[in-house]
């Protein structure tokens, strides 16, 4: 059963050292998010550029595990990708699990549907941990990468997972890692 994933969450996991393992997770995104990825892949921001290219390669790979669905009607504007995810969830019962990077985006999706679990992209890393594909140390290191890459947004994503699951990474990473 696929996890519905937005643009920034895909870029976040693609920019970690566990991307090769993440590719084993069945994911689905929207054509609107794919368009955002294509825009990032052409842009000058290295982080967005490299992450988006890796995701687009996987979408283009016929043996890959990322499916793209078409959003109707097509949302426009700055938050079009996130809006398309919220719309998919509201229109279809196919999605039980959503992963999004932005906390406000997660809040919007939760309000659109009661039947769906909405997580930060750390959930995708947790799938690997829970199925013994990666070790706790690798999971923690990967969370640390997300913290370094994504500032306050990354902190919210990682901290909520650590507190909720709960999981203790304090022996693996230094608390200074919180700060850039």
């Amino acid at each position: 059963m696929s996890v519905l994933v937005d643009t920034d969450a895909l870029i976040a996991v693609a920019n970690t050292s566990l991307w090769d393992d993440v590719r084993r997770v069945e994911m689905v995104t929207t054509n609107v998010c794919k368009k955002e990825l294509e825009r990032h892949a052409e842009g000058r921001d290295d982080y967005l550029h490299e992450g988006a290219e890796a995701v687009l390669d996987e979408i283009g790979n016929e043996d890959g595990n990322i499916e793209v669905v078409t959003s109707v009607p097509r949302p426009h504007g700055k938050d079009a990708g996130e809006t398309s995810i919220a719309q998919e969830v509201a229109q279809s019962d196919d999605y039980g699990t959503v992963a999004m990077m932005d906390a406000e985006g997660r809040e919007i999706v939760r309000r659109r549907s009661d039947d769906v679990s909405v997580y930060s992209p750390v959930y995708i890393l947790y799938i690997l941990l829970d199925n013994d594909i990666v070790s706790r140390e690798e999971f923690c290191e990967c969370c640390a990468e997300m913290l370094r890459n994504e500032g306050w947004t990354g902190y919210m994503a990682v901290k909520s997972a650590w507190k909720g699951i709960p999981i203790d990474c304090s022996d693996v990473i230094d608390e200074d890692l919180y700060f850039s």
């Binding site: 059963m1 696929s2 996890v3 084993r24 997770v25 069945e26 595990n65 699990t97 906390a103 406000e104 997660r106 809040e107 939760r110 679990s117 909405v118 997580y119 930060s120 959930y123 947790y126 799938i127 829970d130 199925n131 500032g151 306050w152 902190y155 919210m156 994503a157 901290k159 909520s160 997972a161 507190k163 909720g164 699951i165 919180y178 700060f179 850039s180």
Partner: protein, 101 residues
Amino acid sequence: MSYEDEIKFRVGAEKEAAKILDELRVGGVNISQLAREGFEEKLREALSDDDRIRIYEMYDHGEIDEEVAHVFLGDDLDRMKEDIAEFEDVEEEDTSKHLAG
């Protein structure tokens, strides 16, 4: 902290401007409320990502009250609670269903 507590700061033309706005409006304006909301907004705007993280860590360690953390972090503090609650149920889930066969 109650609304009886005061923060004092020096003003020049701002005081005159506030007085004029008060006179322009029928029933006047609540300058205290305006200042409080404006101050809160500016406090949030002044925070860097590192500041936000430090404040959440202080709150998490019980070093500052929730009310104070909320002044700084606003809706994000509530969103954090929802995100944590979501992860609390994760261990009951069969996550292997998300792996490609």
